[in-house]
């Protein structure tokens, strides 16, 4: 019997294992389907990780390496090359690998840390032929950075998410010509620093409010048509531009990987596509916790690690017998402009002095106030911001004393000055 089984060995899994260890748990197991620990960080060879946690600018492999080193020669067990097939309410974990075959492992608690996968061409339905040369940006990143294959010479990138921006720079440095980055929204989905250092540094044009309306080519992509879109994302006739290219990279978003969670009847939030969680990262299934990109898509591995620490500590508390299930639940609702919050539920009275709430807006806000109100329209907390963009996750901290004054459920909204 394990104390905790952690599914996924990326930064979320690693940091939650470290927290379990620090809380004194003896039997902790990480199950990872890949041949090595580190998750998506192994292919993120660029720098920009760890500024908050380690006060240094590290690359993805270095950031993962720090955590792997902390777990080396500890009691944490690791099963690599092992796929988790299903989990059950009684915390049984079904796994399979080529050495031991099929196994049922028992645990007192489970942490979900499966990360996310990329949205594909199917998910956004781009018209045109089905020629080779269309990759998701993350797949291309893996081919280039891990396997050493160059995926194309003349590239158009659809979507301005961070992975696409990072790949624009990577491919340019490796000698490809990146012709354009095309974004359907009127704003970029990536961090401002990546627009600067990945596109502007190399004079790659960014077309906002544009999309690919046709992909041409028999066997390999030969070119794409790009059109401007109106306020309803409909292509505007007469604005077509043609790019002669052999490769299209899609950077159109990530989706939390929750097949296991869904099969276990864990409640999923349709907005985040991840499990609904309480302030201690517990899901709707008692004793099953979740952290990292499986809960909601993070832009910073540092935030993943902090969230994972919370999940690991909570799992350790659960293993030592602490139960929260009979507490009162306050729901955090969102008003238009706010896409979602994590956590979605808070159990009161809080055990901590405050609760951290993360959220994303779904449009750009200038000078504004973030308002947390209760059902009687009382303002529980408010926060000023110079600007809030969909590309960066926001964080607010609601003190316990304020939360205790709230009547009924809470709402989060953003008001522009």
């Amino acid at each position: 019997m394990y104390d905790v089984i952690i599914i996924g060995g990326g930064p979320a899994g690693l940091a939650s294992a470290k927290a379990c260890l620090d809380k004194g748990l003896e039997k902790v197991l990480i199950v990872e389907r890949d041949k090595e620990l580190g998750g998506i960080l192994n292919q993120c060879i660029h720098n920009g990780f760890g500024l908050h946690m380690f006060k240094e600018e590290l690359t993805g492999p270095e950031f993962a390496g720090r955590f792997i080193d902390m777990l080396r020669d500890t009691k944490v067990e690791v099963m690599l090359d092992t796929m988790v097939l299903s989990i059950e309410d009684d915390h049984t974990v079904h796994v399979i690998n080529t050495v031991n075959g099929y196994q049922c492992l028992k645990a007192k608690s489970i942490i979900l840390a499966m990360g996310c996968r990329e949205r594909t061409r199917g998910a956004i339905a781009i018209p045109g032929t089905r020629a080779a040369g269309v990759f998701t940006a993350g797949t291309a990143q893996r081919y280039m950075n891990i396997d050493g294959y160059m995926v194309g010479k003349r590239v158009v990138i659809l979507g301005s998410g961070d992975i696409g921006l990072i790949m624009a720079r990577r491919m340019t440095l490796e000698g490809a010509k990146v012709l354009a980055c095309v974004e359907i929204n009127p704003y970029s989905g990536g961090l401002a620093r990546n627009i600067k250092q990945c596109l502007e540094d190399f004079n790659i044009p960014l077309y906002l409010s544009h999309t690919i309306t046709d992909i041409r080519g028999e066997n390999r992509v030969e070119g794409v048509t790009v059109s401007k879109v109106d306020g309803h994302f409909q292509p505007i006739k007469g604005t077509e531009m043609y790019f002669d290219c052999d490769t299209v990279l899609l950077s159109v978003g990530l989706i939390p990987e929750n097949e296991l969670s869904k099969a276990a009847n864990i409640r999923i939030d349709p907005r985040t596509r991840g499990p609904v969680v309480y302030e201690n990262m517990e899901t709707s299934a008692e004793g099953i916790f979740a952290c990292g990109n499986v809960v909601h898509v993070h832009d910073l591995a540092d935030n993943v690690a902090l969230e994972a620490k919370k999940a690991g500590e909570s799992a350790a508390e659960y293993v030592s017998g602490l139960r929260r299930a009979d507490k009162k639940v306050v729901e955090i609702k969102t008003l238009p402009g706010v896409g979602y919050t994590v956590p979605q539920h808070v159990r009161v009275p809080l055990d901590n002095k405050f609760v951290e709430v993360f959220f994303r807006v779904n449009r750009v806000f200038g000078n504004s106030v973030i308002l947390v109100k209760d059902e009687k329209d009382n303002v529980i907390s408010q926060f000023k911001r110079e600007f809030i963009v969909p590309g960066s996750m926001e964080k607010i901290i609601i003190p316990k004393v304020m939360l205790e004054k709230a009547e009924g459920n809470l709402t989060v909204s953003v008001k522009e000055d």
């Binding site: 060879i45 390496g65 950075n145 961090l191």
Partner: protein
Amino acid sequence: MTELICIGCPKGCHLKVDEENGYKVTGNSCPVGAEYGANELRNPTRVLTSTVRIVGGLHDCLPVRTNKPIPKPLLLEAMAQLRNIEVKSPVRMGDVIIENLLGTGADVIATRNM
């Protein structure tokens, strides 16, 4: 006056650099931004991250980076140097792969064990 986005951290502060006034920077939330803003208009530098070939390792590519920023105009020349390198496993994180890259004073180091 030139407006820039700071690339020092994910916050991405909007900087204003006053060329006529000793490259004085405003809009930064920390000292990194002041230094970045002043350098960016005179001698822009970047940390280069890439891969080199490795034999006998778990994968065929070893991720590497420069251990300090190098002048931006040298990035492509530096990439050409990396293309000629092949290392043998085992390599430790932090091992020097190229010393004093293109005379910049920066070393290229491995960013993982392999």
